[in-house]
């Protein structure tokens, strides 16, 4: 019964969606607003990666909302799992290969993550991806060398610091050039590491915040 009803609903939905997007053809023109972003973004922001320039400048306010969602997700998980006790069985120690590989790879993974978010305005990548890479490094360290982990206090401090710095940079933009999250720093030479005004700073903050937050989620789920 349940299955037939849901199947019928899905078929109705499918027909509706088919008529809605039958006129939208695959692989044709872009929106006008993206044309503006592509043609003017390099001049306006001095950032070669247009996706970064959309995420942090044209839609920086959205990004603030999105990292807030992530923050609320992490807090909600902590709230839901607060005081939860597992009847913990004895954890088997990690094998030699895993333990050695973890000790060897953990700093390299951290370095890769940091590289990805520091170069987010020049190459593909950025704060969110670099943060995810860093969190995967913490997952590896949790599995491999389960003795070492960053403290919950450190996670909380870094998380709140990241959010606060993001908002402060936005407020400085309001102070210096009149609207929130405006790019008030000098743009620098295009295609060098220090260019693009506030965008690299914001991406570094986001990278730290996302990485630490995802690591915190992993720890909370594993405990």
């Amino acid at each position: 019964m349940r299955k037939t009803i849901s199947f019928i609903l899905l078929v109705i939905l499918l027909i509706g969606i088919y008529y809605a997007i039958a006129q939208v053809h695959y692989g044709e023109n872009k929106m006008e607003v993206s044309k503006h972003y592509i043609n003017e973004g390099l001049k306006e922001n001095g950032v070669t990666n247009i996706v970064t320039s959309v995420v942090l400048n044209y839609r920086g306010f959205d990004t603030l909302g999105e990292i807030t969602i992530l923050f609320i997700g992490a807090i909600g998980l902590g709230l839901v799992l607060f005081g939860f006790e597992t009847k913990r069985k004895d954890i088997m120690p990690a094998s030699l290969i895993l333990a050695t590989g973890c000790r060897f790879l953990f700093p390299l993974i951290l370095l890769l993550g940091i590289y990805i978010f520091v170069h987010g305005h020049l190459t593909p990548g950025g704060g969110f991806q670099g943060g995810a890479v860093i969190a995967s490094g913490f997952l590896l360290s949790y599995i491999g060398c389960s003795k070492k982990r960053i403290s919950e206090k450190g996670i909380n401090i870094l998380e709140s610091l990241g959010g606060t710095i993001f908002i402060l940079i936005g407020l400085l933009g309001l102070l210096f050039s009149g609207y929130y999250l405006s790019n008030f720093l000098p743009k620098g030479t295009i295609n060098t590491l220090i260019s693009g005004g506030i965008i690299p700073l914001l991406y570094i903050v986001i990278g730290l915040k996302v990485g630490v937050e995802l690591a915190g989620i992993i720890y909370k789920l594993m405990e």
Binding site: G27, I50, V54, V80, T123, G126
Partner: protein, 119 residues
């Protein structure tokens, strides 16, 4: 064949979304429902990226001077998906946390046996 060639990405994206919706609507195990949520997210991300694609497009990055900006794909959906993936992780983690709590309380993951969630 031509229809399939033109619409393969639509079919893939909506196939994923509908598999996910079916799992959410029809399955009884909470873990399977959460996996269905993951399917929906993946399908929507694929759909957004695909909407922004243009034929023979390149990534919207000026890696060197003199790149034809007319061939660049739409950066807006990519920016949306970039953040959506990370948010997706947070939402799934929250859902799993709630599932853990429900299991602790009711000792079952079967939705039809959990009081108040019947339909």
């Amino acid at each position: 064949m031509d229809f399939l060639y033109k619409n393969i990405y639509y079919i893939g994206a909506f196939g994923l979304i509908f598999i996910g919706l079916y799992m959410v609507a029809a399955k009884k195990n909470l873990i399977k429902i959460i996996i269905g949520l993951g399917f929906i997210d993946t399908g929507i991300n694929l759909f957004l990226i695909m909407i922004g694609y243009i034929k023979n497009g390149t990534a919207p990055i000026f890696t060197k001077a003199g790149i034809d900006s007319a061939q660049m794909v739409d950066p807006v959906p990519q920016a949306l998906v970039l953040t959506a993936i990370v948010i997706n992780v947070a939402i799934l983690a929250l859902a799993l946390g709630l599932a853990i709590k429900l299991y602790e309380h009711y000792k079952t993951l079967d939705v039809s046996k959990i009081r108040g969630l019947k339909w």
